[in-house]
């Protein structure tokens, strides 16, 4: 009796060892494979009599909680990074980019005329300002949504922030040159129609009398464009 029991244990052990070896082989095959493998191909590489379906199910279970999962794609099997770790496979790089002429102009108008609405920007520029231009400015981190103008349509008002000052090396917004200085530096010609003024800019965060605070949803408008995804 005891001999039989012992035999059984030994058989059990050797079966377990066999199965473990089959799992190792399966794992190595899937790891080294250059493309997803079907069960027939896997079967051909495994020891005769191996139950490929059961082995795959076991391996899939083993890998399920891990950083890499065994997945079946179009009837074929492959190891793949766990879905929740996909972020690991991305890397952010900083790409220096120059602002477009339209964006620089719009930024300047926001700086000088803040709080300013999109319609007001367009009036000053004399051309339509695309939403993309304002999005880019929001993305620079130099322009912020201030509030909403108390006016029909309740348009959003834009202003600059500290990052703007810091990027352009300004101690305060009031350091932006006024009309006389612009003329003095030759950026504006002397002969201009009477009544031409350049505002004294202020980025005081206190809302003006004609401004309402932003509403909860305003900052999640998707105003910030998704970053460009580039495959390497």
């Amino acid at each position: 009796m005891s001999n039989v029991a012992e035999m059984r244990v030994i058989v059990g052990d050797s079966e377990r060892a066999e199965r473990a070896e089959e799992l190792r082989i399966l794992e190595a095959l899937l790891f080294a494979a250059e493309e997803p493998l079907d069960e027939k191909t896997l079967s051909a590489r495994l020891p005769a009599g191996a139950d490929v379906g059961a082995l795959l199910a076991d391996l899939q279970n083993e890998y399920a909680p891990r950083g890499v999962n065994l997945v079946r794609v179009a009837g074929k099997w492959m190891l793949r990074t766990a879905g929740d770790l996909a972020w690991l496979l991305t890397r952010e790089t900083v790409a220096p980019r120059k602002l477009s002429r339209a964006a620089v102009e719009t930024l300047a108008i926001v700086a000088y005329h803040q709080p300013v609405t999109r319609a007001e920007i367009e009036e000053i520029r004399g051309v339509t300002t695309s939403k993309g231009t304002l999005d880019v400015l929001l993305e620079t981190g130099w322009v912020r949504l201030r509030g909403r103008r108390k006016a029909p349509g309740r348009p959003v008002t834009y202003g600059t922030n500290e990052a703007f000052l810091s990027h352009f090396g300004l101690e305060a917004l009031a350091d932006l040159p006024g009309l006389d200085e612009l003329k003095g530096s030759g950026l504006i010609e002397a002969s201009l129609p009477p009544g031409f003024t350049v505002p004294v800019p202020s980025d005081d965060p206190t809302l003006r009398e004609d401004e309402d605070p932003l509403e909860p949803g305003d900052l999640d408008l998707g105003l910030v464009p998704p970053a460009e995804r580039v495959e390497e």
Binding site: L182, L187, E232
Partner: protein, 274 residues
């Protein structure tokens, strides 16, 4: 030891006893040192205990055999043979100070050292090649997953960009407004409306200019007012609502409302052509 006693193989293994007497195959050797090493291994002793004298004899016998077979020997084999012959003679003679200061013993040791070094490097080369090699025995991930790059733009602009863009845009806009005053043209419709209103139902002949006096004050307006009102007048005449009268060419135009709708305006209109 005669050459016949020595068998050669390009392989490193020592030849089994009773093999063909002599295989002189210089092609199989990687130079004289390799040949020497192969010969040395046939002494079947540790390289440290090798007899350089015996080795020199074997080498010289091999070269002699090759020469008898008229085999072409590369120069470096012959150089080595000459050097070994010299070494052998020095080893056999009582020690004398050598011109280069090396004793025959030193020279023999240096050769033995070179042989040991070559053998050692061959052994480790074999060990190295027997290691599992990547792509031959072990494999890396067959489908590596590429890292996608997310380009985060870092925007830049200078204060000068900012100010010059602002200044030129504001300046251009200011100019654009001045340069394009509202064009004041008296349209045909305006003229017609004015004439209908002014002449109304006045059935007496009156000069057209008189009706338009208030519109003709501004000199720049005169051409457009006159042109449009004349055209409007003719239109009203054609419709039979006005009558036009002119004494001679370039004389003032007289107009009056028509009392009788059925009367012919054709003649009067002709007069207007002057």
């Amino acid at each position: 030891m005669s050459a016949e006693d020595v068998a050669f193989e390009s392989e490193l293994e020592a030849p089994a006893a009773g093999e063909p007497a002599l295989v002189v195959d210089v092609e199989g050797f990687e130079g004289p040192l390799d040949l020497l090493l192969t010969l040395a291994r046939q002494q079947k002793v540790d390289l440290a205990k090798i007899s350089i004298l015996a080795l020199a004899d074997q080498y010289l016998a091999f070269i002699e055999a090759a020469r008898k077979l008229r085999l072409e020997l590369a120069a470096d084999y012959l150089v080595m043979a000459a050097w070994l012959a010299y070494l052998k003679s020095r080893l056999l003679l009582p020690e004398q100070p050598a011109p280069d200061g090396l004793s025959a013993e030193d020279m023999a040791n240096a050769l033995a050292q070179r042989l040991r070094r070559l053998e050692a490097i061959r052994q480790v080369a074999e060990q190295l090649l027997n290691r599992p090699q990547l792509g031959r025995d072990v494999f890396q991930r067959g489908q590596p997953e590429p890292i996608a790059e997310i380009k985060r733009p870092q925007w830049s602009a200078t204060l000068y960009d900012l100010l010059s863009a602002y200044a030129s845009r504001r300046q251009n806009q200011a100019r654009a407004i001045v340069r394009m005053p509202k064009r004041s043209v008296w349209s045909l419709a305006e003229a017609r409306e004015a004439i209908e209103r002014l002449i109304g139902r006045s059935f007496d002949w009156s000069p057209l200019d008189q009706y338009l006096i208030e519109y003709l004050v501004e000199p720049s307006q005169r051409p457009t007012v006159l042109a449009s009102s004349f055209a409007a007048t003719l239109e009203l005449v054609r419709e039979g609502r006005l009558e036009v009268h002119q004494h001679t060419a370039f004389a003032p135009l007289f107009v009056r409302a028509r009392a009788n709708e059925s009367a012919s305006g054709g003649v009067a209109a002709d007069a207007g052509n002057g």
